[in-house]
Amino acid sequence: MAKIIAGVTSSHVPAIGAAIDNHKTEEPYWKRVFSGFEKSKEWFAKTKPDVVIGVYNDHASAFSVEIVPTFALGCAAEFPPADEGWGPRPVPVVKGHPDLAAHIAQSVILDEFDLTVINKMEVDHGLTVPMNLVMGDPNGAWPCPVIPLAVNVVLFPPPTTHRCFMLGRAIKKAVESYPEDLRVVIFGTGGMSHQISGPRAGLINSKFDKAFLDDLVKNPKKLTKIKHVDLMREAGAEGIELVMWLIMRGALDDKVDEVYRFYTVPASNTAVGHVILENKSRKSGGKAKKAPKKAGKKKK
């Protein structure tokens, strides 16, 4: 059976993508940011997940105001990088995992999440920047398939933190009922505190961010009570992207090991927060030999 073994959060600032694409990662300003992800790349290379579920928000790239899905799960075989106004990022096409994605879609819809199923979509920096940061230089191809889950945070209101947490729970259940041994890592991206619009742009609330990180690890249910207005007030208008981190957290066990944390200000307009959380139970699932082989069970 498949299993979610770990969760990763990371901000997804477009300027980070530009720094990578324009080979500026060694400049002092950017080195401060990228050095915080060195350990993450080692962790990812060692962990070698079979699939990543990438929770992110589309920034008016795949979805305009004509159609705005609250939760859109990418079930396609591939997702090309979007042209966000300066040409598509020079990164490989993101390969999906249509079988697992279809299984998750069916499972969470029957669990009463009103998913939008997507079979054609371009993905923007919201997904690909964290992939760069955590997976490293793709060098021609990303190391594993990624199932994109796009969450609306553009048109008010986004889903509540509580709803996001519960969707994470439903995704966990869905993955665990998939009849193939797969080790899955889930990314929650966006945030931390930032406002990139209007006269209050540049807002940073590090105290809020650090408390959010602490609660995310140890007391996520507390975060499921935050109202949108308070998130926007404390973490900036676009800091509301933090709701997505709760999907990641809901998909993990109640108790997790925090194996890494990094926080810095600023990257461009934004506070960068990043944690890696592992399920304590991770060793019992996935490819471990002791897990009974249930895949392929079917009637004659």
């Binding site: 920034h59 008016a60 305009s64 006269p199 807002l203 940073i204 590090s206």
Partner: protein, 151 residues
């Protein structure tokens, strides 16, 4: 129907992109989306005023776009994730746009960010009723209250 006041209207210097704003800014945002194609970016740059005629824009909206008045675009229903595509078309970064929207030079804005960003103290609410009883807002150079110039 007249606009019903929202709780988030009390956040200073902030335009929350709700459906009311989305409806008003439909033309601005669909214009910005069109800039996701290189040929459209070229057509726009070749003749901006002419290109804008293809979209349902009010004269105020057209003027805000032509003048790159990013705050005015937000006021008129634009959303930053859309208008950023106009910025990208001009070769500008998000940070440049942020500097413009806060009335700073890009250098001054970048310096504020390197100094830890705009502080939350004093920037929670217009009414002041959401401020904490902690120490007063820092007064460091470049760390200013939102909305001092507009909004």
């Amino acid at each position: 129907m007249p606009r019903v006041e929202k709780e988030y209207d009390d956040i200073p210097g902030t335009f929350v992109f709700d459906q009311e704003r989305s409806r008003r800014g439909y033309g601005i945002n669909m214009f910005c989306m069109s800039l996701m194609k290189a040929e459209n970016r070229k057509a726009f740059k070749d003749n901006e005023a002419e290109y804008l005629k293809k979209f349902p824009l009010t004269p105020e909206q057209t003027e805000a776009i032509l003048k790159r008045d990013y705050n005015r675009m937000l006021e008129l229903g634009g959303n930053i994730y859309f208008t950023a595509k106009l910025g990208a078309t001009d070769g500008h970064s998000f940070q440049h746009l942020a500097a413009v929207m806060t009335g700073s030079t890009q250098e001054g804005y970048a310096k504020m960010m390197l100094g830890g960003g705009r502080p939350i103290e004093g920037n929670r609410s217009k009414s002041g009723k959401h401020e904490r009883k902690s120490k007063p807002a820092a007064k460091a150079k470049g760390r200013k209250k939102a909305g001092s110039k507009r909004g």
